[in-house]
């Protein structure tokens, strides 16, 4: 009997477990199986949960991909100065945990003349940027056309949508982190602890697959700001870039600036040899 008591007491950490906020959430179906009615109930429930936690009622939408659209990102390495404003604009837009810090974008300082990422440094903090002899390469989820993260998910909590964005159903993710291990670019972030987000920094304009607040034990990553891009806007990282190095658009539109870049500039991708076929292209202007 004492061993039974000890075994039960060993489960004591479950007292702090917060995953089960409600039975509705526990019994919620996979995103792809939800009918429109069920989806609106789910969105209302999420709005209630966020209002309870942050004191502000958000507007959570289920934005669908647009027809005839495939998103592509291009980054001009001649112009990036390494200021990291994109990192923080993303954090402000997407309701990420501040302590511990989750940032979808990582800027890597590379010495001129090499693409060897082993020689990169991501914790540079000089007085001013850019530093002579270096170039800066921001890395985020590349929304690969052949995504290894989607293949390894044991529960299909992550999949690629028709407009190219690889999305995560945060309520379906079991937190096994196989996707985090599979990604060659370290695009995915895991919530090891309960994410902490100050109430006044909440962005109330949310999407179900996008920037709604996540829970402990769930994987998240860049989703090309789908709450903005599926409504026709540019992503937050692009809007803040002071040098205009970031370019985004619909590759299926021949008039878009990304089509112009892929036709006229010398573009390359990272880790071409692993065959992920990213939708994120780097290029030099001169």
């Amino acid at each position: 009997m004492a061993s039974g008591l000890a075994a039960l007491a060993a489960l004591a950490p479950l007292r702090e477990l917060e995953r089960f906020t409600s039975m509705d959430e526990f019994l919620q179906k996979h995103y792809k199986e939800l009918s429109p009615d069920e989806m609106s109930k789910v969105l209302a429930r999420i709005e209630d949960e966020v209002e309870q936690a942050y004191g502000q009622r958000p507007h959570v939408r289920d934005l669908k991909p647009m027809n005839g659209v495939e998103f592509v990102y291009a980054l001009n390495l001649t112009r990036c100065v390494g200021c990291r404003k994109c990192v923080h604009a993303c954090v402000a837009e997407n309701n990420q945990s501040r302590t511990p810090e989750i940032q979808y974008i990582r800027v890597i300082k590379m010495p001129n003349g090499t693409f060897d990422l082993e020689r990169g440094d991501h914790s540079y903090e000089p007085e001013t940027v850019p530093e002579k002899g270096f170039y800066y390469m921001p890395v985020q989820c590349h929304q690969c056309r052949n995504p290894p993260c989607v293949r390894v998910c044991p529960v299909q909590a992550t999949w690629q949508e028709p407009d190219g964005i690889t999305v995560i159903d945060y309520n379906w993710c079991i937190g096994c982190r196989y996707c985090e291990a599979a990604c060659p670019y370290w695009a995915r972030r895991f919530n090891f602890t309960k994410p902490s987000l100050p109430k006044e920094q909440l962005n109330p304009n949310m999407a179900y697959l996008g920037n709604r607040p996540r829970k402990q034990g769930v994987v998240e990553k860049c989703h090309f700001c789908l709450q903005r891009t599926r409504a026709g806007r540019y992503p937050a990282c692009l809007e803040v870039c002071p040098t205009g190095s970031r370019k985004f658009g619909n590759i299926l539109d021949p008039q878009s600036e990304v089509a112009y870049i892929l036709k006229n500039k010398r573009v390359f991708i990272l880790k071409e040899e692993v065959g992920t076929l990213p939708r994120f292209f780097y290029y030099f202007d001169v």
Partner: protein, 214 residues
Amino acid sequence: MNSNSKATVVLVGFTVGFLVLQAAFLGDWWGKPRPLHEIAAVPPQFTNTATVRVSAKQLLASGGDTSGQDCYACHEKGKTPQVHIDKQGKVKLPSEHEDLVVHHGRNDRNNHCFNCHDPNNLDHFVTKNGSYLKLQEGTLLCASCHGPTFRDWEVGVHGRMSGFWNKANGDVTRQDCTSCHDPHAPAFPPVKPAPGPHPLRAEAVHVHSPDTKD
């Protein structure tokens, strides 16, 4: 000791052991996670979408102080100002324009004032082929020499194009050249970077690659 009392001792021992374990689990005697240091909020300048400068066109549109653009407040109409060149062939600015820093072109080769400013009509620009441009049309003046960059700018590939990528939803906003580039010293100024990432481990290991200087 007979086997009965040995069994009793062992059982009592186990019971006590399990009760101690139970107390340990309930009381969190070990395995408590270390409290995380609060990471300071990033200063608001790093999420500000404003451009680094304000162009003449932006200034005029916003109704700001344009007294600095009124050349004839000091200059006499009809009188061409003199541009002084020193012994090394460099343009020497008069004391009234000392606040200007002029470094245009490789080795300052485009520093002469009248390469852009019309000497006879100071509130206009003049391009190499002799056409006149107003102060708000500075972008076309830059384009008269920087053609490939201007072509990229028109498409939206040079400089930031913000707003809506989907024309059906809204318009794009393209910045003027002088919203980012000081026309007299156009090289993009160095900026202070935002702080680097804070890893989860409390004792952060600062990675030194062999090429960084620190």
